[in-house]
């Protein structure tokens, strides 16, 4: 049976959603884009295989490249999330700084 892009992407998204759980809304758009690329790569592999133009080793290398590319994107999302947490903590500390430092008499915060 021939591969179908929409089904491939939908299946991947469905599986990933369960892993990401509450963080899913943050990564959904990126995941869709990356899974689409992986799906397109798999369709290309299928097409080339039917034409006898690709070996299993070549197919594995193509897929590995797409997976690594997707991992690079996810690492950026992780970094952006950490930066957001950092910003939130610093904003929280800043807002109480004067009151706490004055009350304690130390520049603690």
């Amino acid at each position: 049976m021939a591969l179908e892009l929409t089904k491939l992407v939908t299946d991947m998204l469905s599986a990933a959603r369960g892993v990401f759980e509450e963080k899913w809304p943050d990564v959904k758009d990126y995941a869709e884009a990356e899974f689409k690329k992986i799906g397109e790569c798999l369709l290309m592999i299928e097409r080339l295989k039917l034409q006898g133009k690709i070996t299993e080793e070549q197919a594995r290398l193509h897929l590995e490249i797409q997976k690594n590319s997707a991992r690079t994107v996810l690492l950026t999302l992780e970094g952006l999330h950490i930066l957001l947490v950092e910003e939130a903590i610093n904003a929280a500390l800043k807002i109480i700084r004067d009151a706490v430092n004055t009350a304690l008499g130390w520049r603690l915060v």
């Binding site: 990356e34 690329k37 397109e40 790569c41 290309m44 080339l48 133009k53 690709i54 070996t55 080793e57 070549q58 290398l61 193509h62 590995e64 490249i65 797409q66 690594n68 590319s69 997707a70 991992r71 690079t72 994107v73 690492l75 950026t76 992780e78 970094g79 952006l80 950490i82 930066l83 947490v85 950092e86 903590i89 610093n90 500390l93 700084r97 520049r107 603690l108 915060v109």
Partner: protein, 155 residues
Amino acid sequence: MKDFGLWVPSRGRLFLAGSLLALAYLLASCSEVKFISDYDENTASAVIQLHGQVEQFLLKLEKTAGKPEGSHGVLEESYDHVRLALSDLHLRCAAREKNDLQVQQIDLISKNWDSLEQLHKLGLTAEQIPPLRTAFNVAFTAVLRLENAKKRGGQ
């Protein structure tokens, strides 16, 4: 020497003023948390330059795929040039504290570069290049996006 009415600070006063400014800065910033390294303009430039290098190579590969001038043997040197640039970038990223994510990203791009060379050795056709180019574009964009996001405050 004629006095023009300007107060010229002594070296001692300059040192004291500098120390006080440094101390004030430290006190003001000591309570700020930082989980990820600062923005580095040189890293951003290196990523853009490396992306251009890879893009240019892939365009050449696409045009010459299947021809003698596009063989791995002819283009082998380009792989080493990019590998060297990736190694420099890895060193720059690894030398900065709290920069593990970016180091991992450069490692992934390096692995992909090795895989591309392997594919080339096995025989690449022009129709296989577009998804490879997209993969490298996406990866470089991701690295640059993270670097730019590190700009904080007045950076």
